[in-house]
């Protein structure tokens, strides 16, 4: 009975949890409700993924209005993969949030933090699960508006400006997206993804479609921080509370990439989308620029969170690179990297949050000699850093392997050189931190840091362990990515 309503419950649960938290007003109760909602979402996501693996695509008609008239929720191999990623990260950061948020967010705003987090989770899951183009916009704005608030909750006043700048850029991005959808609607008269795709097959007027494609690409490019549309990201990540940075870095940009993938392969069809406009060379070129320049910029950042933020823009470059290659191996790499980088960055930002709590600062200068005071944190950073670099045996390696394979298949040897060279840059910026932690002498006489509570240490350890496990056991990330790619390349034919 309940099983058939799982796709909608996924979104409704956190959506209902948010006002409930506002009514409760108690910090502990708010945290409990948010955690319960996150864990329930993960359980539902896993159940849906298993059901999709067994029985194929699940279609759910909201309010029993059959698609294409009503809004359809649609879970296929790709969206099930994303659901598990988003809900998994959500369930991972919530136990961690208790102590971290209490330390970083002003006391009377703590319960509002959890309400906003629930809205953000509902929005992100909604984007993934919906099969309606306009519904994607609504969920995009639900997640974005709550994200702006979450960023503004940061301790420094710079967080306010970062949130405002993100609000301007994010709204321009979302509005571009709506313009694109509007043009698509004018041509096809439908908003259901499957229906639009079918009607586009027989569309004769191609010019508005190219305009729609361009608007949607730029709009989502702003949201996913595609170089050079990434300027909002470093400030937003650097000044937001640690939990927010972790959650956003691992999910928000990834979900926008997912929407872009769906547009290219399931709405427009890759033949039209990638060859109608010169998107293939554009995506590969911009991704290459992102990977090199942002890795270089990361190398010179004085603050750990900021460095990781720039590294995120570079890593998003790897994902869009696979999208631009658009062959089976490249796409598998891109989709696997969504999860692999999500987990890796989640682990790194969780560690950074732990450091912020214990030492009160995340500047790299303050990390000097940290390995003596917090040996496990330093060790975790080394392991997750190796995954960021892409050392064999870690999650980061598997996706880069497929990207290299995809580039070779495409005959673009320079891309292979670039991926290897940029990995060396990653070695350099990770090494800076490791050197400060292990080899440098502390400036001040070492005072014993306050020990982070178990609820923070356990999720961090789990995230670090996952970066290794996903590198050794590739059945889940690469296996699911493969299945999703089969679905994409089969497309709408």
């Amino acid at each position: 009975m309940i099983a058939e309503h799982l796709p909608v419950l996924q979104v409704v649960l956190p959506l209902v949890a948010a006002p409930l938290i506002v009514l409760l007003r108690r910090d502990t109760a708010a945290w409990l409700v948010a955690t319960a909602a996150s864990v329930a979402c993960l359980a539902i996501a896993v159940a849906l993924a298993l059901a999709v693996a067994r029985g194929g695509v699940i279609s759910y008609a909201i309010g029993s209005w059959p698609p294409p008239w009503g809004i359809e929720y649609r879970v296929d191999a790709l969206s099930a993969f994303m659901l598990v990623l988003v809900a998994g990260i959500g369930a991972l950061v919530m136990p961690y949030a208790r102590a971290s948020v209490a330390a970083e967010v002003p006391g009377r705003q703590v319960y509002l933090f959890y309400a906003m987090y629930c809205l953000c989770l509902a929005g992100l899951l909604g984007i993934v699960v919906t099969g309606d183009l306009f519904n994607i916009f609504v969920f995009l704005e639900i997640s974005s508006l709550s994200t702006y608030v979450l960023i503004a909750l940061g301790r420094q006043r710079r967080a306010l400006l970062a949130a405002f700048q993100y609000l301007i850029v994010g709204t321009i991005g979302a509005t571009f997206y709506v313009i694109g959808i509007g043009l698509l609607y004018l041509v096809t008269g439908s908003l259901n993804i499957v229906d639009v795709a079918a009607r586009l097959q027989i569309a004769t007027e191609l010019r508005p479609l190219l305009a729609a494609l361009a608007f949607i690409t730029v709009g989502l490019g702003l949201k996913l921080a595609l170089f050079p549309l990434h300027q909002w990201l470093p400030n937003a990540y650097a000044y937001a509370p640690s939990v927010v940075t972790t959650f956003l870095a691992a999910t928000a940009t990834k979900v926008s990439v997912y929407v872009l993938i769906r547009f290219y392969f399931l709405v427009f069809g890759h033949a039209f989308a990638l060859d109608g406009l010169p998107l293939r060379p554009l995506l590969v070129g911009l991704s290459a620029a992102a990977i090199v320049t942002m890795s270089l910029v990361a190398l010179f950042q004085p603050d750990l969170k900021r460095m990781l933020a720039y590294s995120s823009v570079a890593q998003i470059g790897y994902i869009t690179l696979g999208l631009g290659l658009a062959n089976a191996a490249g796409l598998t790499g891109a989709i696997a990297h969504l999860a692999n980088h999500g987990i890796t960055k989640c682990a790194l930002f969780l560690l950074a949050g732990g450091i912020a709590l214990s030492c009160g600062s995340t500047s790299i200068a303050s990390l000097r000699g940290l390995a003596h005071r917090m040996p496990w944190t330093a060790f975790g950073f080394v392991v997750a850093g190796l995954s960021l670099i892409g050392v064999p045996g870690t999650a980061g390696f598997t996706s880069k392997w497929f990207l290299v394979e995809g580039a070779l298949e495409d005959g673009q040897v320079w891309v292979v050189v670039l991926v290897v060279a940029s990995s060396l840059l990653a070695v350099a910026y990770v090494w800076r931190v490791v050197e400060a932690m292990y080899l440098a002498e502390p400036d001040a006489p070492a005072q014993t840091p306050t020990r982070a509570p178990l609820l923070m240490r356990a999720p961090t350890a789990l995230a670090v362990a996952l970066t290794v496990v996903l590198g050794l056991v590739t059945a889940y990330n690469v296996g699911y990515a493969r299945r999703a790619v089969e679905l994409l390349l089969e497309g709408i034919s």
């Binding site: 609504v138 704005e141 508006l145 710079r158 321009i172 509005t175 509007g182």
Partner: protein, 123 residues
């Protein structure tokens, strides 16, 4: 009808769109940025609403004597978009108020200048 006369609503839409976007990017005053953003969003409402209207058609209520109806779906979509737009502007203005409290100004260049100063008081 000429290309211009038959499609003049599109020209208005594009004009508003470009004007709004320009104000958002070019102005340094945070409130003016939000005004530009609002104009930009409003242009999209027009982009949706105008094609839904058929000349000589009525509201989509089935009644004797009326055969052609306007398309109600764009109106419904834009009602949603308006709500989103209002929420965005409200949140943006709230942030501007907080920024004014933190920095004492809402001019972007002055704020950035203050941020360049190395030590900053906690909020």
């Amino acid at each position: 009808m000429s290309a211009f006369g038959g499609h003049y609503s599109y020209f208005v839409t594009v004009l508003l769109m470009v004007a709004g976007l320009y104000v958002t990017i070019a102005r340094g005053n945070l409130v003016k940025k939000l005004i530009g953003l609002s104009i930009f969003q409003t242009s999209v409402y027009l982009l949706y609403i105008a094609p839904g209207k058929l000349i000589g058609a009525t509201a989509p209520i089935v009644a004797k004597g009326y055969a052609s109806y306007s398309n109600p779906l764009p109106h419904v979509l834009i009602l949603t978009a308006i709500v989103v737009g209002v929420a965005t502007i409200a949140l943006g203005l709230a942030l501007v108020v907080r920024i004014r409290e933190g920095y004492g100004t809402i001019e972007e260049d002055q704020i950035l200048e203050q941020d360049r100063a190395p030590d900053e008081p906690a909020k």
